[in-house]
Amino acid sequence: MNENAKRARPNVMPWAWRLLPVVLAVALLVVMPGFLPEFLQRMMSKFLIFAIFSISYNIVAAYTGLISLGQAAYFGVGGYTVGVLMAHYGINSLWVTALAGVTLGSLAAAVVGPIVLRVSGMYFLILTFAIGRLGYSLTWNLPFFNVPQGIQGIAGLPRPVTGIPGFQFTEFSFYFLVLVFFAIAMFLQYRLSRSPFGHSLEGIREGETRMEALGYNVWLHKYLSYVIAGAFAALAGVLYVYMNRFIEPADFDIMRSFYPMAMVIIGGPATLWGPAVGAAAIVFVEYFSSILVPARWPLILGSLFVLTIMFARKGLAVYAADLWSKAGAKLWKR
């Protein structure tokens, strides 16, 4: 028995052709960066961090149907936890700060979850957005979150310390750290999407009433999805602070929340590779537009976004995958 192909038509091409893009991706991600200049390595790190952030949105919004404009709140919590630990308590350990960041981010989502889940649809959207703003105004105003005094945010943070004697993070080795976390995040997303729980999220997105009648505790599933997404966002925030060595209130804001949203939409909602493809697309287009047409980037991003929603709803990843399949089918027709 058991094909578990999920597309409408099972693939007929040899597995080698299907595997090729994955191999290429791995080569790109693992081998290539060693040959890149530092600033490009940093951009690769940035892309992977945003890919993780986008997975957060993918889970809560694309899979579960809860459009949240406030994932940045947990990004912020993760980042500020690291910032506070490093700046106020001198804790630089990678392990401690990362664990603390992700834990606090998840806890924040766990606390906020029952509040935001009291409403749905448009109100949910606005409420998640308001929560993000609350985070923003807290970190803006309270001196505790502004170090050194007089600036917005926490600056001058060191690189995290691994406890391996003599080891200091370079741009390159930091990239690999991010890559490892990215791989873990992708793996978790993969397992989640194939699991019964993951399927239930899609069912909830399609229609809550029927899911309840089938025996699913819809509220609980939504809550778990929200907390899990919060954890991913917090992880992204943690890594972001390691990379930038700086965090500011704007990191809580809706502008931040827009990026993962745009990345998932453009990359392909509710797909495995959508978040990463979207993140890559946006980070790299942003880079190029900053060279060619500086200051026009938001216009380009907005336009890309609008065009995708209107004409390419399934997202780049799906269209690319379809093209690839068709090409493969043609090549192998004989």
Binding site: A61, G121, I126, N141, M255, F258, A295, L299
Partner: protein, 285 residues
Amino acid sequence: MSMFFTNLVNGLAMGMVYFLTAAGMSIVMGVMGISNLAHGALYMVSAYVGWQVFRGFHWPFTVAVIAGGVAGGLLGLFIERVFLRRLYKQPNEQVLLTYGFVYIFTNACIWIWKGWPRLPFTAAALKPVMIGGLRFASSRFLLIALGALSAVALWYLQDRTRLGARVRAGMDDKEMAQGMGVNMEMVSMIVFFIASFVAGLSGVLGAQVMGINAEAGNTILLQALVVVIIGGVGSIQGALLGGLMIGLLDTFGKVLFPQLAMFTIYLAMVIVLVVRPQGLLGRRG
């Protein structure tokens, strides 16, 4: 004491600006079910257009106000006709799409008007007014008067005209209303235009009080959302009540507890959303 009156007038004027912006958004949201996050961006574009007309072309202030309204209205209409119409009953996509427009419009304004952080925009033609020994910019009173007038006009439109009845019918069931001979396309267009026009007016007028900057797209959106939520979606009266409340809270808050002003307002919004999502005077639950 004079401080109190100055702040009161300022607060009411601000409140009127909030009301005008929120009213359009509230009606469109509550009655047409469309979430237009670009509403604040319409305000912003209109403010720039008004500035251009008044300071750039040196035409009379009244023309500037109307130009702003028309600019807002046309832009809103453009979004509705070309984009939103194809996303009927897809609220998620509507939200995402309109937020994309915020990015586009904000950057376009920076491009055209060179992104000056703040354009000063006070119609010098409006001389200050003296009341009881205190000096007020007459723009404040103009705003309050215009706001009150608009409130009455909009309320009348909503509750007492056939257009209003048609809109309310269409909110419940578009097909049914169409089946009864209501041209919903036309109604949608008209309502959206009016809402955007009013936002445009409030953009030019609001600029008198707050100046213009390219961040208005987001900040005004936030403020409008707060007012809409607290006042209640779909209700002109709610937008008025909410707008005045927030305007006063904001103005007095900045004076009395500047650190927490922002925070209190958002907290109020969160509380309302959780306890009484339909707002103080809202129509839809």
